[in-house]
């Protein structure tokens, strides 16, 4: 049996009569960088909250890291990593102090924590700025520290919420080089974004609209299948033909 990072089947979440997530199904493998796309308000955030064990589905089944999202959601939380662009680092503390703080939150301490931080400083090339207060650092550097904080406890799935959206291309490419290395080590990176320039770096993507997944596939194949030039145009044409809410 294939060892999937995320398997969901008919997952729904209703708020009253409104179906924020309307029966989505998906299989995502370890080692895969999966882009979970959709316009503002498509239901991405609600779906992710269910996958992270923060919100109970109204119906549907699934597992994340092998844990049942209906029954074992408490076990999901500590088994995953989460990073968003709004990820809160303490600006007055240095990067290293931030990592020490988050390490203790995950129950790491002493020599083990120190060793893990040294490993991340090396692996994510943080040495140049790890001992400076994070508040004064450029966004691209802060994001690398935020990623280090999210993977301190070696999660096999990391949820990344618009990790590099709106960031300049130089920083973005460096950041993605790091993500590719993590994927090589067997980590599943589950990226939510509505930035097509981020989505292009994913190995596979899905596009969500009005609570449903309208398409899943490799970025280049999706573009080719519609005969368009890029993912941006593909996204717009797919969403437009579904109709908009304004």
């Amino acid at each position: 049996m294939m060892d999937y990072a995320v398997v969901i089947d008919g997952l729904s979440k209703k708020f009253g009569a409104f179906a924020a997530v309307d029966g989505i199904s998906l299989k995502v493998e370890y080692g895969e960088i999966f882009g979970f796309l959709g316009a503002n308000g498509a239901g991405k955030t609600t779906a992710i909250r269910m996958l992270c064990g923060l919100l109970q589905p109204t119906s549907g089944t699934g597992t994340v890291n092998g844990f049942d999202i209906n029954r074992e959601y408490e076990k999901i939380k500590p088994s995953i990593g989460y990073m968003s662009q709004k990820f809160s680092l303490y600006g007055d503390l240095t990067g290293r102090e931030n990592l020490q703080f988050y390490g203790t939150v995950y129950g790491l301490r002493g020599g083990r924590l120190k060793g893990r931080i040294a490993e991340l400083v090396d692996g994510l090339s943080l040495d140049e700025f790890i001992d400076r207060p994070t508040g004064a650092l450029p966004v691209g550097w802060r994001q690398r520290i935020a990623l280090a904080a999210a993977i301190l406890h070696r999660p096999r799935i990391v949820f990344l919420d618009e990790p590099t959206g709106g960031v300049d291309p130089v920083f973005r490419r460096r950041f993605w080089e790091i993500l590719y290395r993590l994927a090589d080590d067997g980590t599943n990176l589950f990226v939510t974004t509505h930035y097509m320039d981020e989505a292009e770096f994913c190995s596979r993507i899905s596009i969500m609209h009005r609570g449903k997944i309208v398409v899943v596939g490799r970025p280049r194949e999706l573009v080719a299948s519609r005969g368009l030039r890029n993912l941006q145009e593909t996204f717009i044409s797919l969403i437009s033909e579904q109709g908009t809410d304004g």
């Binding site: 316009a39 960031v167 291309p169 080089e177 590719y180 930035y195 292009e200 996204f235 717009i236």
Partner: protein, 303 residues
């Protein structure tokens, strides 16, 4: 003729130079996109251009009048949209518009007719009673733009108006900019998105307070030195290690493909030969056009 001119502008904060001798000009009926990394000085430049902050030296003129001496006359000509959401979240769409109209002395029938036009323009019509704080990201930005347009400015300064907005809403926002352009407005817009940069008449790449490059999108694309080839192969760690061993080229992952940078003095045939030597003789390779993003990265890296 240029409507807005920025000449050798310097802006320092506590010894830090945010804008470092920067010059640019915008003509009527033209859109100039300014792209640059965080901290490049875009926001300082825009604020100085609107007369919102003092600067150390240089000048900004609008219609030939300096912001240093003629702000009173310039203000009615300018529309500014700051980067952060600047509307009143507790006021409705209509109330926000009315408030901004009041600031510029637009009232009565004039206000009513402009309001109707802006509603049609922006697609805000169905949401006029909705509180601004409850609008979607894209709609918020269209309302902010409408507020900046209520006094019919001839120069528009937009600081990352589409950051955080989904692709469809971004396209609709640019449709509005294009129609303002047809009406003869001079527009300066900062954006981190290269797809938007490609739509502008002129582009300025800004870095460390200075101009890195300027030109039409096509002119900037031609600045790229070397070539990019796409190898349609799953970029496994093993393959990447093998490709990295090929001398003189720089492979990098790009989603489900590998892209290979080839320096200007190497031909496609030479690349094919080297790929074959490393066991990639059968791999599908095609040359792809360098995008504005590639140009930007190359220019930045050369710094």
């Amino acid at each position: 003729m240029s409507v807005l001119e920025v000449t050798r502008l310097f802006k320092r904060y506590h010894g830090l130079t945010a804008v470092d001798g920067f010059s640019m000009a915008v003509e009527a009926g033209r859109i100039v996109a300014v792209a640059g990394p965080d901290g490049a000085g875009k926001t300082s430049l825009f604020r100085a251009a609107c007369g919102l902050i003092d600067f150390d030296s240089g000048d900004v003129t609008v219609g030939g009048i300096s912001v240093k001496t003629g702000m009173g006359r310039i203000k009615p000509l300018m529309g500014y949209m700051p980067q952060s959401f600047s509307l009143y979240p507790d006021l409705s769409v209509e109330e926000n518009l009315r408030f901004y109209a009041g600031l510029f002395g637009v009232s009565g029938d004039v206000f009513a007719s402009r309001r109707e036009r802006l509603y049609r323009f922006s697609g805000l019509e169905p949401f006029v009673k909705r509180r601004a704080g409850n609008l979607s990201g894209g709609m918020k930005q269209k309302l902010a733009l409408s507020c900046a347009l209520i006094h019919q400015p001839s120069v528009l300064i937009l600081d990352e108006p589409t950051t955080g907005v989904d692709p469809l809403s971004r396209q609709q926002f640019w449709d509005i900019l294009m129609s303002l352009r047809r009406d003869g407005a001079a527009v300066i817009v900062a954006t981190p998105y290269m797809d938007e940069v490609a739509l502008a008449d002129r582009v300025v790449f800004m870095h460390a307070g200075k101009k890195l490059a300027e030109g039409t999108p096509d002119e900037l694309r031609r600045l790229y030195s070397g070539g990019i080839y796409r190898l349609a192969l799953e970029p496994t760690a093993e393959r990447m290690a093998l490709l990295s061993g090929i001398e003189g080229v720089a492979p990098y992952r790009f989603g489900a493909d590998v892209h290979i940078y080839v320096p200007p003095d190497m031909s496609g045939g030479e690349l094919a030969a080297r790929l074959a030597d490393s066991g990639f003789g059968d791999a599908p390779v095609e040359r792809i056009e360098a995008g504005l993003e590639d140009v930007f990265i190359q220019l930045m890296s050369g710094q």
